[in-house]
């Protein structure tokens, strides 16, 4: 305890004021500070990192400014200025390349389960589509042979059995290899990675999560997981893959290697590139990065994200993995208009999407919690294999689940070609044989043909199966995305609703509400559009994104025409979903994994309610505080300190804040001092002023530590509303904030304090509900 009297205190006040004055005029801001590394599972201090970068930038510019400076410095400056753009260009190119490799491999593996390309023109490395191109016979492709045919099965039953067996066998094999890669090679390659990327972008440090091992592991495991037939997509993980590329490339440049905040700007651009290649929607990708994952998104990052996303899309388009000049399997281009009465249909689809999203999120989180608490947690490998077996066995018998989910979506999005039936879902019974120009009269009489009824039943079964499978699959230890399975469910019910509305309108087309829009004998309603709207609405329900979704869909359809249906459905789905809980699946998984992500704050507390030490603990002294002159025994304090550092005050009784010092810096600085000068002992006084009192003979040397003191820590008054404090934390990206009352240090708020506080409030409000 301090024993200074008030007078002495004021005296020392004045002396220190002088000392500090000297220190400020010395502008210690521009001195290089010891480089403290962030520990794993800790948050970075954006403000500190960005000011570090500013110092570095000033140094380079100053070195290059004078005429006499060597050419090296001038080149250095140009390289430094251009490096950001170079990095995003490279990230874009690398992401496009990786996506191309994944796309091609995935398609081949998915087809390999069902057959192989042989014969005179074909080669085994071609997938079904390519194989049939080579054979110049898309209709009756003989080069592509199912496994049953390969093995020479003669009867239908044995053909079926052989196909079934090979389907299950290959599915399980691929799943097992995939799980092995994840288990033994890159444990971080599991899941979609979006919640983690989001957390990392918010300033959290997870060493290795974006490493080369993860990149390679995910790139190899992802096609296997999709190929195994599991109910998952490759779109989400591509964001993780692109982020890994971004991290690897950014680390090549010292500017980004040594600065966590700057590197995160590049990662935002990489996330945009990831979505850009996943959906072939560069603008949608940028908005996804902005809306869903990024935390700190200055205008410059926006530019760079664009560059990155567009480069990625361009590279992928040059690779042309789907052979159709488009970047996705389910690119659609409708020409037919929609009519205002259909709005009701879109709203219904939106409501269903929102309900599905809420249901899925709840169930998936429940299952994940169950997995964590039950014995399943000990056998992740077996769980994957078992899921593969179950998926393969259940999926093969149904035509709609046997095909890849992306093919199913593409099929459901399609407008029926009324001049030539291709699929069961388009197989309307016609009244006349005039298939050239179908009119409503031709269609209504027969109504639903047996083929259509069969397809409806098949689709319903597929939907139910996929709902269950997706719930249990998302969270197992393989790379798994949610976009495609969610879209599948939405596309199925959207298509079915569209079909229903189409038939209804055809049957009652004399009603004035319909006849005013649809001419006589016109097929007004396009079920394919409903499938697309349904896919958007389930995605919106699950992820709670809206803008980027609409833009992605807008880029897929390439027209303003369907903006209104898409907007209506996604907004409805979001509102309905929000009624059951405000968080999207990624936020729920962030919570589930206890990542420290600062979200919005809707409570009316003040800073003094959250800070530590709590004001009610009058007895407990402020553990972490150090005086401007302090015994060097602070080393012992570092070990017990609950914060990353210590507020430095004039004296313990007056508690006037001088600055803040980070524990790790302190440790490094003291170690360095010990190495350099002899007189530093554990009895030494640490001085945070620039001028130190003259050393008396016999006393140990004084440790000068003013250079590691942050003399301008962010501070708030103790009655500041927490909403504002959170705003400051989020917008300035700080790790800690001093709480003052009338200039006296009262406490300190860290990110963890806020998260803890929010968690406590949530659990409290949860109990009272």
């Amino acid at each position: 305890m301090e024993s200074d009297s008030d007078d002495q205190l004021l005296e020392s006040d004045r002396f220190s004021d002088l000392a500090i004055e000297m220190s400020f005029s010395n502008n210690s801001q521009n001195q290089p500070q010891p480089r403290a590394k962030y520990r794993n599972y800790h948050s970075i201090d954006w403000l500190r990192e960005l000011s570090k970068d500013k110092i570095r930038h000033t140094r380079i510019n100053r070195a290059a400014a004078s005429r006499s400076s060597p050419t090296k410095d001038k080149i250095n400056k140009i390289v430094d200025a251009a490096s950001g753009w170079i990095v995003v260009l490279l990230i874009g190119a690398a992401s496009g390349l990786c996506a191309g490799v994944v796309d091609v491999t995935t398609k081949w593996l998915a087809d390999f389960k069902r057959g192989i390309c042989t014969g005179e023109h074909g080669s085994f490395w071609l997938n079904q589509e390519q194989c049939c191109w080579t054979a110049y016979s898309t209709e009756n492709c003989t080069d592509w042979r199912k496994w049953g045919e390969v093995f020479g099965a003669s009867t239908d039953a044995s053909l079926f059995t052989a196909d079934y067996f090979m389907y299950v066998l290959f599915g399980v094999t691929m799943g097992a290899i995939c799980a092995a890669i994840v288990k033994y090679f890159s444990p971080y390659a599991t899941g979609s990675g979006i919640p983690e990327v989001k957390t990392i972008l918010s300033g959290f440090v997870i060493h290795g999560y974006l490493g080369i091992c993860t990149l390679l592991g995910k790139m190899f495991a992802l096609p296997l997981a999709v190929g195994a037939g599991l109910s998952l997509g490759k779109e989400g993980p591509l964001v993780h893959v692109a982020s890994c590329c971004g991290n690897a490339i950014a680390r090549l440049f010292p500017k980004y290697k040594h600065n966590q905040a700057k590197r995160r700007e590049m990662l935002s651009a990489a996330a945009a590139a990831g979505v850009s290649v996943a959906f072939g929607a560069p603008i949608g990708g940028v908005l996804f990065s902005l809306e869903e994952v990024s935390y700190y998104f200055p205008l410059k990052t926006l530019y760079r994200s664009f560059l990155s996303a567009m480069t990625a899309a361009f590279v992928l388009r040059s690779i042309n993995p789907f052979g159709n000049e488009h970047l996705v399997m389910f690119y659609s281009h409708y020409d037919e208009p929609w009519y205002w009465f259909e709005i009701i249909g879109f709203i219904v689809v939106g409501i269903l999407g929102g309900l599905y999203g809420a249901f899925f999120n709840k169930m998936n989180i429940m299952y994940c919690k169950f997995r964590k608490s039950s014995k399943l947690a000990d056998w992740p490998y077996l769980e994957v294999v078992f899921t593969c077996v179950a998926t393969a066995i259940l999926c093969f018998p149904n035509f709609y689940t046997q095909m890849a989910q992306s093919d199913l979506i593409a099929m459901l999005f399609k407008t029926c070609n009324y001049e030539r039936w291709e699929e069961d879902i388009c197989h309307y019974t016609l009244n006349s044989n005039n298939t050239k120009h179908i009119s409503a009269d031709d269609m209504i009489i027969g109504g639903l043909s047996p083929e259509i009824v069969r397809s409806i039943v098949g689709l319903l079964l597929a939907m139910l199966l996929y709902i269950v499978l997706t719930i249990v699959t998302f969270g197992i230890k393989v790379p798994s995305g949610l976009f495609i399975p969610s879209m599948t469910v939405g596309a199925i019910f959207g298509r079915l609703i569209g079909l229903g509305i189409q038939q209804f309108v055809l049957n009652f087309n004399h009603w004035s509400v319909f006849s005013s829009y649809c001419g006589e004998g016109q097929v007004c309603v396009n079920p394919g559009l409903y499938a697309m709207v349904g896919a958007a609405s389930t995605l919106s329900g699950v992820t709670r994104m809206t803008v980027s979704l609409v833009v992605i869909m807008y880029e897929l359809t390439g027209g303003l025409l369907y903006i209104v249906p898409l907007m209506v459905a996604t907004m409805t789905a979001k509102w309905i979903g929000d009624a059951f809980g405000h968080e999207g699946i990624y936020d729920l998984h962030i919570k589930l994994n206890n990542y420290p992500f600062l979200d919005n704050y809707n409570y009316s507390n003040l800073a003094c309610d959250v800070m530590r030490p709590r004001p009610e603990d009058h007895s407990q002294s402020f553990v972490g505080v150090i005086r401007i002159q302090y015994s060097i025994k602070i080393e012992e304090m570092i070990k017990i300190s609950p914060y990353h550092g210590f507020p430095v005050v004039l004296s313990r009784s007056c508690m006037r804040l001088i600055g803040f010092v980070v524990s790790q810096d302190l440790q490094i600085a003291i170690d360095e001092l010990r190495m350099q000068s002899q007189g530093i002992t554990s009895q030494s006084m640490a001085h945070f002023t620039d001028t130190v009192p003259i050393q008396k003979p016999g006393e140990p040397s004084i440790a000068r530590l003013s250079h590691i003191l942050d003399i301008a820590p962010v501070n708030v008054s103790d009655v500041t509303p927490m909403a504002l404090v959170l705003e400051i934390f989020r917008k300035l990206g700080i790790r800690h904030c001093m709480v003052l009352r009338h200039g006296k240090l009262q406490g300190i708020i860290t990110r963890k304090d806020i998260l803890y506080h929010i968690a406590r409030l949530n659990s409290y409000s949860g109990q009272t509900d």
Copy 2:
């Protein structure tokens, strides 16, 4: 001067601490504060406005929360929650409507200068295009008659003279009417309005700038200004028109009427809707709002901007002003690929665009400064009329300047139809008569035909004329946009460069660099693409936008194919332009008009260098500070205070900060107290604590003012780098910030201080350069 001794000070300190404690527990945050209005040409305090909104929101929710609350309150809550979405929907619809009206009127007026629709099928209210549709004869449209024909001129010379005379006459008349509207009806309708909208969105108050008068004036004057043939566009002003719509609609809802910050969120959405309808590019509009004009752009505003922009585009498409299902006159759809060797051409175009932008910006600002300082400033009306006369006389003789600029751009963007020549610029001399399938061999022999040479000369003259005209036009007292004139210049030189490259490649198509890309006899280079790239590059050079430009162009062409050329050119143009000065034309005009816009900050000052009072003025006491107990004579202080308010401190000698009080609130509160209670005289003490000492008999009553005290003003340490302070000002949108040293109030920084400081530094660095 205070005479308290230190002891007394500490005593009073303790007492006040207690008093304040009471005040805090009372949570005075949630009390309604007197509603101070912002004065004209002052900045708003975002933080204050947003916290005001939070209080309002909480009140409405609390009223609706309990089961016993009346239905009115519950409806109130729903209306309140939905009002933001309703407002943006209405804004979108209104903007689309206004844009439709402006588009149709503009086209008619522009055509009216040259002729009129008469005859049996035609009616005078149709523009040339519509007139010729009605007549079912686009080729030889007889219903559309030039003025010379109407007056029955017989010889070619008299026809020309009559046309010329009417062209000039109508041009000048429209210009004069337009200038009269601006002069007598809506003085704010002048210019593009984007610099002002940008300033308003940053928190500045300009009463009436977004009023109904301005809206109507601009909507009437804009078509007249374009119709007069002046070298200006209607695209920029449409942003202003949409913002006026936004303001008018937002004011219908109390939530936005009484809250300047919330209303600005709606204005951001309106700006997006404006660009959306100006270019038919909803996503580009949102990004324009984000990149160029907005200041405070939370995610929710992004959603709303999208809704608004898309609604606007949808409404405009339903109006269909151009009769071609597209939203702009120069919608282009190319199918031909570009080749990598063309990148050099795009870079050249980009460099020229950047140079033009830098040149134009410099010249325009110089001319605007000359106008302000010369006698021209006294005769704005005559200047407009004179400009109209000069423009009309100079433009008529040249085919390319006689037509509307948007038509010229559309023509330049077009790919030549090699099967049927339509324009001079496509009139290549052919070797053979085989015009069906043009090969390179057909074209190279003849090379440039006389028609092409004529068109090149015409275009060059048109470009020079437009450059000069635009420099003198942008800034006169009519509504005037810069997009179209900039695009015209870029499209012309782009087209000419494209033509040159095309001819070069045709002549040297045996070179391996060309022959490896272009097949034998293939016309590889599309000059129309260069025109588009040129238009984008001049726009980028003038405005320094990049992302939104690329996206706007992407939406105009509707394909990923041209993203790379566009990106290369706009980026090059921006970099070249930035080499001559970092500011775009809007920022330059903001500066020219001395609007207080906080931009980035690149100096290494500290907060204490900027704050007032200056630390070097030791003699000057802190004028604006008031003690926690203060004589009510503060009224006199309000008049002389240099700030919007006063920091409240414990005592003048200890300077411990208690809070901040806004002058206007203080004035209102004192006036109210005078009205209500009798005992308040100018001898009364004002107490900012909740508990006040017991009133002694004979003494005047005590004015309790704790409810107007902001007890948590934002504060920084005096050694905080100014870059961080500016970040805090920008991100939190505050008007003032307290500067503390070790808890003692040292000074105050306001937005004006920062702007003044930046201006001083700029002028200083300008002198030393």
